[in-house]
Amino acid sequence: MSFRYKSALLSLTSMALIYGWFFVKLLTQRHVGVLVDPVVQLGGTVLAVAVVQIIGHIIIAGTSSDKYDAMDERERGFDRRATSVGYYLLIMGALAAISTLHMGASGPYMGYAVVLAIVVAECARQGVFLILHHRAA
């Protein structure tokens, strides 16, 4: 596995798990009717993802046997296709987030919908990159 493959796997896993936990908790709290300062929770989530990814990338870089760690021409091709898929998902997500306003969502919840769109688009980008990498292996 190349550095970029491991990096994409780490990004996808950490974002899906940590942001997934955040959104599940947000929905649960909303259902119960108690909101425990969601801005602090979102800040904590962003911080947790950053810390996990920084530490994970240091470990991956330290254990990688590959002498060339940058993205090469083949991986740039995968990345271009993955970014294109992520971009369309982000546009769709942004439009969906705006539409929540017409369904009676308050400002903060529309903001969370935008965050969700960004997370889904990024997860899709990393996922497509992994699939293309895996199929070409």
Binding site: M1, D72, E73, E75, A136
Partner: protein, 67 residues
């Protein structure tokens, strides 16, 4: 399988280089070098010239069209 066949593996092994060392010398990952050798990926013209130059050969010596 891509239609461009090559002698990269033969020339690399003749020079005692590993896939990782060849990749590092021309700016490719080990996985991409392996993919080129197994005809699962056709390198860009620039990469083909880099490999040929490293081996002291012409691109024609290294790559050929084979359907």
């Amino acid at each position: 399988m891509f239609p461009i066949a090559n002698n990269v593996r033969l020339e690399r092994e003749a020079r005692g280089l590993t896939q990782s060392e060849l990749g590092a010398a021309i700016g490719l990952t080990r996985q991409t070098v392996a993919a080129i050798e197994q005809r699962r990926y056709s390198p860009s013209l620039e990469a083909a010239f880099r490999i040929a130059r490293l081996f002291g050969l012409s691109v024609d010596d290294l790559f050929r069209w084979e359907e």
